[in-house]
């Protein structure tokens, strides 16, 4: 294909995503340096207030007081996203390995079963856990039914339930990339290791894991990024009381009407994710990322 017709074909995609996604990001960057308008929206003059607000609050007499609330929310979001990523890795790696060990037909079936939840509405998948965890939910009803408890356990609206929702939502993101790297392992390497008297654990540590690492890294990025910005799990399973960055951003554009602060938070979260991606690109050779 000639260069000119190739350019013509890629142009619509570049224009649409460039115009309706990259320019909005730039506008958000500009907005993050503006002053909040009480009715939603922004006005002049340009300030750093939105970024100062991460750490300080402006008092009545215009002095800055250190308020760590927002930093705590950001740190808690990162903490929950990291725990989610690690748990998904621990749960996803054995599953991916099991799928690789199956014959062609069972591989297809298992891959389908792991992929399907990825395409099912996150809203509905998160809501399912309300049915199970709430005071009149499945677990509490069952425990009351067999007489273990009289008062319902409060399983919902805490960090545990948020974490459960995040892991449930993002687990498929981890299994698939690990599977696709494990799939290409040469079985002879493992057999050679066994022949040289390596134990099961040694084979995993010295052969399988080094080869699975690029997939695990890709999976970790795919889980960490959306988990950090997630809205539904903290909103529905955290009851909206325990804020995470996702819900904090959303609030700035609805009830709090502080667009610059919301824009600044969005820029910060995007920067963190791009940083993680760049670290990955820098650590792993280009060949592994493309796979």
């Amino acid at each position: 294909m000639r260069t000119r017709s190739s350019l013509l074909l890629i142009l619509p995609a570049i224009l649409i995503i460039g115009f309706f996604m990259m320019i909005p990001m730039c506008i958000a960057l500009v907005y993050s340096f503006m002053t909040a308008n009480a009715y939603g929206g922004v006005e002049a003059p340009a300030t750093f207030d939105a970024y100062i607000q991460f750490l300080y609050q402006r008092d009545f007499d215009d002095t800055l007081v250190f308020v760590p609330d927002y930093i705590f929310i950001i740190l808690r979001s990162i903490y929950l996203a990291v725990i989610t990523t690690i748990t998904c890795l621990i749960l996803g790696l054995p599953v991916a390995w099991y799928i690789v060990c199956q014959n062609e037909q069972r591989r297809r079936l298992l891959l389908f079963l792991v992929t399907l939840p990825f395409w099912i509405n996150t809203l509905i998948r998160t809501y399912c856990w309300i049915l199970i965890l709430r005071d009149e939910g499945l677990i509490n009803n069952a425990l009351r039914g067999i007489g273990v408890i009289t008062q319902p356990l409060s399983l919902l609206y805490n960090d545990g339930s948020i974490l459960l929702g995040l892991i449930y939502t993002f687990l498929p993101f981890m299994v698939l990339p690990i599977y696709s790297t494990l799939e290409r392992i040469d079985p002879r390497l493992i057999e050679a290791a066994y022949d040289l008297y390596a134990s099961r654990a040694a084979v995993f540590r010295r052969v399988v894991w080094p080869l699975a690492k690029p997939g695990a890294l890709a999976g970790a990025t795919l889980v960490f990024a959306p988990a950090l910005g997630s809205f539904l799990a903290p909103d529905l399973l955290g009851g909206g009381k325990k804020l995470l960055i996702g819900s904090l951003i959303q609030m700035q554009f609805t009830s709090s009407r502080n667009w610059p602060f919301g824009a600044a938070l969005s820029i910060a979260i995007t920067a963190v994710i791009l940083l993680v991606m760049m670290l990955r690109a820098w650590k792993a050779p280009a060949r592994e990322i493309r796979a």
Binding site: P12, M25, Y98, C101, I190, P226
Partner: protein, 284 residues
């Protein structure tokens, strides 16, 4: 007879099982159970939802017999029907738009000659997958408000088209890569021009992947909640946004019923798309 009766232990445990195949790395003890547990973890909550949706009782968690009354109630709810129509209009328009854009893009990325631009283009089209949804949602909202665009459904169609492009693109790109270029080269050797090459060779070969991409885009658009919630205005509520509003008010049988409907629709469409997009061997 007496022989088998005296040594049932020996008969049920042949000596060979451990000695002959000590290197079977394909079998890790405990792993089948673990995987089964993970699959139960993934699917049990969905199954519970579906079961509750058919519960006759208004007290969601107390079983009082099988009933489809909540599905009837959902079907008779005018607001839900309105939101469903909005969702369908947006999904169909976004699917058509994103599939065409992705088809052209896939051809350019896999068959074209983009030189230096290739890396930039590939990075750009994958942006909607990398940037968190909440950020896409609020930047789109800010953009529309900065431009003073308040066109209701059209705003949503544009937003959905953007984030559907990578999902439509992925199966097509994979298919073009798997196909290899040999048949197209053969056509070129027989003096077919680029357009003829496309609609006589490339398009028929990649048609299943185009179908798969379109269905993926449709499902992603139909299911989208966060971006729709931030961008939609009073008259352009989509179904997931409406359902979210119902969920905020509490657990009701109607929510279970409408959620089950959405669940079943996604499952059917995705099953078809995954079937169409399954990896095929190269023709040679």
């Amino acid at each position: 007879m007496s022989n088998s009766a005296t040594s049932p232990v020996l008969a049920s445990k042949p000596l060979t099982s451990r000695r002959v195949k000590p290197f079977d790395w394909r079998r890790t003890p405990g792993l089948p159970t673990f995987t089964l547990g993970i699959l139960v973890f993934l699917y049990a909550p969905l199954l519970i939802l579906v079961i509750y949706a058919f519960n006759a009782s208004r007290m969601v968690t107390i079983w009082q017999g099988f009933s489809v009354q909540w599905f009837v109630a959902v079907a008779n709810n005018g607001d839900i029907r309105g939101a469903a129509v909005n969702s369908l209009i947006i999904a169909v328009a976004a699917t058509i738009g994103s599939t065409l854009i992705a088809l052209a893009g896939a051809l350019a990325l896999e068959r074209g000659n983009l030189r230096l631009l290739r890396g930039i283009a590939a990075g750009l089209v994958s942006m909607p997958l990398i940037v968190p949804e909440i950020v896409v949602a609020i930047t789109t909202l800010v953009f529309f408000s900065a431009l003073g665009m308040h066109y209701g459904l059209l705003n949503l169609i544009i937003a959905h088209t953007v984030f559907c492009i990578p999902f439509a693109l992925l199966p097509m790109q994979a298919r073009l890569r798997d196909m290899g270029g040999s048949l197209e080269e053969a056509g070129r050797d027989l003096y077919a021009d680029e357009w003829r090459l496309f609609y006589r060779i490339t398009l028929p070969l990649m048609a299943p992947a185009v179908g798969a991409g379109a269905i993926m885009a449709f499902v992603i658009s139909l299911d989208d909640f966060l971006i729709s919630m931030m961008v939609s205005s009073a008259g352009s509520t989509t179904l997931p946004v409406y359902v979210y509003g119902m969920m905020r008010l509490g657990v009701t049988p109607e929510v279970n019923a409408i959620s089950t409907i959405l669940l079943v629709i996604s499952t059917i469409f995705v099953a078809v798309a995954l079937f169409l997009g399954r990896r095929q061997k190269r023709p040679n």
